[in-house]
Symmetry: D2
Subunit: 346 residues, 4 copies
């Protein structure tokens, strides 16, 4: 297996660190460059001491990077800052962007939700939305993959096949989502202090979270018509983990068993997605640290209504793991490379 | 103020201990009897060392209690065991029952959800459902109050006034509820070990939780027609706290502002219920240890839909605090007695 | 009881908020002024929503306060900023300072540990070190009380009586201390994020923590000779709570039973300090939210050695609770006023 | 690489599950048998759903196992039950025992601490104490390895080389140790409920913990004379992680720098042990999920005294990871096989 030179842009955040953790077991991806503008000049083990045992390059400022010897870029920069950076990369470099910058196909929708014009609309047209299991072929051929958001991953994996199969109504879908705190990143904010978060919970971004249009884009495509969702995220006192509890109406008298069978068929050969048997409830702790997605389908006690719960690790299948899964595909490698680590429990 | 002799039945569990904590500041309720069958003979400070500074009677077996000198009983026994115990109490004793045993007016519904015939159907007819703010007068005159469940409290306080006012549809109400672990009690179960609970979450009792009929009973009464709800509880890694995120449709073009105004009017003089201003999100940690309920109303981004979040401390307003609030009323005392402690944060 | 007008300086931090929580139950101390320079102009319920049910003045900048109508000041400002503020207060105001600024009698020691000359050395001479149980009379007469640090409180309450009685050696005392995260305050620091703190622990300030000279000052006074201690604090993933595990040598063949008897005699009438019976281990959770200190004494398995563990809530007996205890005394009030709340568990 | 057939006895506990997690990445160890008497007949994914993606044998009762086709046994049974089980295994099977049953060389010491005569004293004589880095050659030749306890691992790795080098005094060593809750296992006990553990801490087994004689055995051997230690473990609200904070006196004027240099030399080629540079404090979270041990040495502020902190993951280097490290050696394999996973943070 030929070595692939990898750069991680924005390696001083949690998704960057998580990529390093995963790549430590990769047989051919070699980390050659790591950037972190505010922490440029620091060693990775001073920024993330848990990675102290690896031989890693020091963090540098992005302006100082020579990308000519880089084959693959994982871009973990904040949204809004990413478009120009990626536009400036050599055409030979393959890119997985973990930010939101290339996820929305419609640059007007982008502008509406992110407050500024898209700065690389041409590049946007080439970007492939990398929900791997449902876009594998396109990802394999892509030069630029927009890695899905964590909430959209947990929602679209169960809902897209059901909408495509006409098993559920597209209207009045309610998504009550719960996330661990690592999704908020490593920035020092009062609201994310241990003392502010532990032993309590709350909703946030009610009716206004930026993952709404991303979810709606995918569901609309699957339904063949515009879909609006009711989406409410909650912050849960845990570092990792994400659950979406999704409420919907079945179509044409379909029951949970029908939906479960459909999902099981769609995902039956997938290494990372598991549809649980009747009555088994997924826990976020059962996927911690892994690239797994677990989902379960229930008949609601209100006739004709369905409840689905799906869980992922927001930093793995919801970010760095899926990014690596995509990059493996883009280099023609088995997509499970360096992603075979089992969940860590307890 | 005349002293009232209080017995706590089932004082070795969390709701019993919470009553002791609250009653320590009460000017007239004096704890004379505490039962705990499995721990009979033990001192309270060996069972709950945090209460070691108080002068408390030792735990006794319930069969050994002479109730003739008892004025008030808080019954914290498990459901199913309570009916015969309460039926055997002297008529002079006032009772607040924290179990589910007297909450359902219809004994057939009880039998269906709890798996056995009701053992005190006559007594059931006298029981008042003690959602204090909405049943104050009846509580004040009651001899037996069925203290509401934690989830039903968090759901009914916001929804009943809105259904009564015809501001929301009774159909397709979705309740996504989240609870701290103390709701599961102190029984030693593998599933509730620290290692099994921390840093993860999951749904449970999907479409089958026993609080469903209790919620539906209250909402049906308010709507004047049978209501079925979609209700999914989740276990959150925190000891205390409960949030219900409730999704519904407005009627007749009502907006969040209309609903908020209605709730604010209903609760404007209530010491324990606060309707938050537009855009303010309640956190469970803001009510920890207190008898408070906070609620907030949002327009969903799907036109015509509404989202309400409400929070309580499941052990206080969701159990022991509301029980004390009710008992204060039953003895003609100010209902805030011993309930003025502020939430504890951080 | 006559009303006392209270000002809280630095009310936007955790110790300030904790004072507000406690004072809500006080019959005569009325909060008239709260300062918070960075948050001046904000309402307290926007800064600390858990206190939203109280009628509180908005936060103001300290420069805008008229202290002529203030009777009592709790000063919760960071160390180093406090000396000049207190020096500028009217002589009629009684002050409890929760910072470290007046704790060290020797201003040279202060300068050495805090990096600058003391700015109010004359005032320092009037300050009383307010370890209440061991300085009650002096506190009652004081105008300015230096409220002890949290670690020093947990260490000195057990050790001072034993050194005074000659029951333990002053040399080679090892103090392994553990603190909850609220001790670090509410400043937004990466190191105190939930994700950085939860599910892990570490030592900090090894051999260099600023509470060392404060502890040594008290122990030296008790021993009648200079004492150096080995003191290592640790950060534990919990919001509140502090434990000191203290290792020492007994003198003259004294056993744990002798030490326990001595401590029990010293504290037998104290409302907030409890010496536990042989074999009973104190937990920090048994004092959470209360002004209690629990301690226990053990014979080590190494002959002649003793182990003592003591626990407090760092925000209550380790800060705001002891501050209120002292202020009660300074106004001739029962020292337990507004401090009778029981620990909150679970 | 030839396949090795592996049996895990007691696979329904945390150390068993952790072995399964690690072995999932092993190229030649294949799990053929898993026992769990109370859960015999259940599938592993019903007992540990996080391992649901693996092809694993169902749990069986130990009496039903045919060991003739088994090459390697990891024994995760409770102490006291293990001796007869291992004595009954075919001589061809290599065994790593994670219980305490073969750790103490002196069967009288065993009897004194465990309350019954040793049931396989002949086998005890063959057992090698598997603190891998300090016993590598003996482990490689062993048929039966007694895997060290978690606390003893964290203590002996730093202390044994220093005692051997005569750099520290053997008297008056104080070990203040802190452990995550997974060390208590998966048994359903009230004391280990989430609600009983979270947001608090306490000491346990003060002066009487069974790891004391194991630690003393190793230190005595290193010192060449009997050593007694002062050892106090604490339970910390975290699932995984262990820290020992160790207080001692240097000999002959040695400084922290001398001790650090010695340890760095001893461990310089070790893949799992890292001696941190001056001033760097190890956190338990920096080793979570990995087989790493980090240690740091500090001069105390009391002249001549030294403080060492060392951290491990109690389930990995403190149990299953070290067991696998040993088994790799016993089969002539690279000892890092399946142990290259990096720590998981956050």
């Amino acid at each position: 297996m030929k070595d692939v030179s990898v750069a991680i842009l924005g390696a001083s955040g949690y998704t960057g660190a998580e990529l390093v953790r995963l790549l430590a077991l990769h047989p051919s991806f070699k980390i050659k460059v790591m950037t972190g503008d505010r922490k440029a000049g620091q060693s990775m083990d001073s920024v993330f001491p848990h990675l102290g045992g690896l031989q890693l390059p020091d963090l540098v400022a992005i302006d100082h990077v020579d990308f000519t010897s880089v084959d693959a870029v994982f871009c973990c920069l904040p949204h809004g800052t990413t478009q120009e950076v990626i536009a400036a990369l050599p055409a030979s470099v393959k890119v997985v962007d973990l930010s939101a910058d290339f996820r929305l196909f419609d640059v007007d929708t982008y502008a509406q939700w992110y407050g500024h014009e898209h700065r690389a609309p041409e590049l946007q047209k080439q970007a492939v939305y990398g929900l791997t299991e449902l876009a594998r072929d396109a990802v394999a051929k892509a030069r630029l993959v927009a890695n899905p958001g964590c909430y959209p991953t947990s929602v679209q994996l169960p809902l897209i096949p059901l909408l495509q199969a006409g098993l559920i109504e597209a209207a009045d879908i309610v998504i009550d989502a719960k996330s661990g705190v690592s999704g908020a990143g490593r920035a020092a904010k009062e609201a994310n202090l241990y003392t502010e978060v532990t032993e309590g919970m709350h909703a946030y971004g009610v009716a206004s979270h930026r993952h709404s249009p991303e979810i709606e884009q995918g569901l609309s495509q699957a339904a063949g018509a515009p879909v609006l969702v009711s989406f409410t995220p909650h912050l849960i006192p845990m570092s990792r983990g994400m659950q979406s509890t999704i409420y919907m109406k079945a179509r044409n008298g379909a029951k949970a068993a029908d939906l479960r069978a459909r999902l099981a068929a769609v995902y039956k050969n997938e290494p990372f997605v598991r549809v649980l048997p009747e009555g088994v409830v997924p826990h976020t702790r059962h996927v911690r640290g892994s690239n797994h997605c677990l989902m379960s389908v229930f008949d609601d006690r209100v006739p004709g209504r369905i409840i689905i719960t799906s869980v992922i690790d927001n930093l793995v299948k919801g970010a760095s793991g899926q990014a690596l899964q995509n990059m493996n595909l883009m280099f023609g490698l088995p997509e499970t490379l360096a992603l075979a680590q089992q969940p860590m429990f307890p």
